[in-house]
Symmetry: C2
Subunit: 392 residues, 2 copies
């Protein structure tokens, strides 16, 4: 039932004249343009001339297979990812509620695609280094596809998230953060597991991953009936930001629209590698990171994709402090929407920027509040003789 | 934008010849047919002759307002409830994944409707007695609508769920279970808060509530292109079961189909008031309940709606033990779907029944695994010198 993929090659983000065959996925970045200090990611190229008419006129329902022509081949079964609601807040700003995915974060869009690559490669399983959402999502899609999964988790993720990561039957190895990446490489090299998280000095991740995120742009186009003026995205390595941006460029390239939004990389001020790279005019950079409770997007290692999305769209990198994110999180809760602290970074940065735009503004809310630090740590005190006055 | 409601009256389930005006909602059951030992609920009646052509041919997207003609008037803003995916399991059985709602349970469909009633009544807020999903969902919809919310919670709900219930800014009063209902009545009587949970001796709840659940039937009809042969629903008081059943009867009544499914009430064996009432030939009953970890559907107080849905459809009440539910929960996790233990009761009962049906079988999965007992209670042990062998 799924339409065939029009994917034809992997193209280097370091030099767009360099391309590689579509398979095998180059999970350690572009070999020709990367150096010891900087790794360039790849993206997927398509035969855009053959995009079916009407592709972008579909109802934005779950299951990203409806966009199969512009995705890498989908071998993994769906869990009904995507098709998330676009909620209008009091002042007309929109929240794209990605907590409505199968494992309650945006990561499901990526893992449908990367686990498909693992199946195509004939790998016995997938391996992922993750403190939360990415690991659980990879485990869920691997389980659904009949593959094993190894999650290299960190001990400091919230206890409820630890239950979440273990829920899908994956082998969860809890290790110190600095041991995760060498171990991931070993599991790839020794066991032939397919890596669905990063292995390079600056972030490149899986070359197919951001393709899954493109579907957010397609859905927004269907939901708004147009391209938004600006998109504010919680940003760690920039895979989500770049994916959404790429989706919009494809809408333009295939003639569905002539517009494109400004893309805003909203990252914790405690790290903010995208802002630093842009300020220094670098393709990507590595920073020291201070403490932040927005653990899902706190990164020391930046990625070139984030820099490209901001630069090519004319947007900005917007570092935001935890207090600003907390205020946005409270604002959303006051509208009935419980986002993880990281998930409120988009709205936080938009509020802090204080700029108006000539068209709809979309903040991507990436994940459910259940994944936050502090969840489950404040047991309630029982009222012994309650009266209705206590309700006032 | 929302089409007008065709709701015309409240009709007694105790005697269908008795009806009342649509407002005010009779939140303490049918006054004429209820007794000190047994309360009969009400349901909403519509002007079915005026149902718009093509109503049931819509895409099953989020926001139940698309079914507004067959719902009570919707005044509360949407959080994008409904439009949840229907996932096919290995053997062709379907799971309707209600963990994909705004607060990650089916309760959001009900609370969009009941909070609308609170707004129409001019109440300053809503009050709800709930150990989890219902309370958080009511709090979310109240916040979205600009109403206050009081949640009467119990101390024994899981710690992560306590964070969840508090997330939306409601006033949460944690009280002993037996104090909840008198306190709820006081808050209704003294403060004029609108009750969105039960106040009667056997369960009647809010007369409009199950109307929200009807939309599951409409979505299943759109998703399957037909009516299922059987629906297995986790059942506590039976509001969900009855709502889904009523939706199917409306599809038949309005000529969209001539079929209707068998409805199976899947309830914890430790309580099982629906099975008891059916066995005794009673309209509803009250039972003692033993321990069960399926706390979201463990009820001592039964409701007439559950009895009616089972009896009118030709289905059964199916008590299931915790071990059976746990096996179904593991089965779902092995397919990449993390349901709360209660949410797996439908699949558990279907597996235990071992019967085949002449058509699609749907199990309703009501809620996310994040809400379970035990979540967040097993911190991980850190591997000090991990090697790839640990992944085997």
């Amino acid at each position: 039932m799924t339409a065939p993929s029009l994917a034809v090659a992997q193209r280097s983000l370091g030099d767009p004249s360099i391309s590689y065959p579509l398979v095998p996925p180059l999970t350690r970045g572009c070999p020709k343009t990367s150096t010891d200090a900087l790794a360039y990611p790849l993206e997927v190229d398509y035969d855009y001339d053959r995009v079916p008419a009407g592709l972008f006129e579909q109802a934005p329902l779950p299951d990203i297979a409806r966009w199969a022509p512009l995705l890498p081949p989908l071998h993994a079964p769906t869990l009904g990812e995507g098709g998330t609601p676009l909620l209008e807040l009091d002042d007309g700003v929109y929240l794209k509620d990605e907590s409505r995915n199968p494992t309650w974060s945006h990561k499901d869009r990526l893992n449908r695609v990367t686990v498909s690559a693992a199946l195509a490669a004939g790998a016995p399983g997938v391996v992922v280094a993750s403190s939360g959402n990415h690991g659980a999502s990879a485990a869920a899609y691997a389980a659904r596809a009949g593959l094993k999964a190894v999650v290299l988790a960190s001990a400091d993720s919230p206890p409820a998230v630890q239950s979440f990561v273990r829920a899908y039957g994956a082998k969860v190895l809890t290790v110190d953060a600095d041991r995760r990446w060498p171990l991931l490489r070993d599991i790839v090299d020794e066991l032939g597991y397919h890596p669905v998280s990063n292995q390079t000095v600056t972030h490149t991740g899986h070359p197919y991953g951001p393709e899954g995120y493109k579907t957010i742009a397609y859905e927004l186009f269907a939901q708004l009936g147009r391209v938004p003026a600006a998109v504010f995205t919680p940003t760690g390595y920039g895979e989500l930001l770049y994916g959404v941006w790429k989706g919009f460029t494809e809408l333009r390239r295939t003639g569905a629209t002539t517009d494109a939004p400004l893309m805003f990389a909203c990252e914790p001020a405690a790290g903010a590698p995208t802002a630093r790279a842009l300020a220094d005019g670098e393709p990507a950079t590595i920073v020291d990171a201070g403490p932040s409770d927005a653990y899902a997007i706190l990164c020391t290692v930046g990625g070139h994709r984030a820099v490209r999305a901001v630069r090519d769209s004319g947007g900005l990198a917007l570092p935001v402090g935890d207090d600003t994110m907390r205020a946005a999180q409270r604002e959303l809760a006051g509208q009935g929407i419980w986002q993880e602290l990281s998930g409120a970074a988009g709205l936080a940065a938009y509020r802090a920027l204080g700029r108006t735009f000539d068209g709809p503004v979309v903040c991507v809310g990436t994940s459910s509040g259940f994944k936050d630090l502090g969840v489950g740590t404040r047991p309630a005190e029982v009222l012994t003789a309650p009266t209705w006055r206590d309700a006032l």
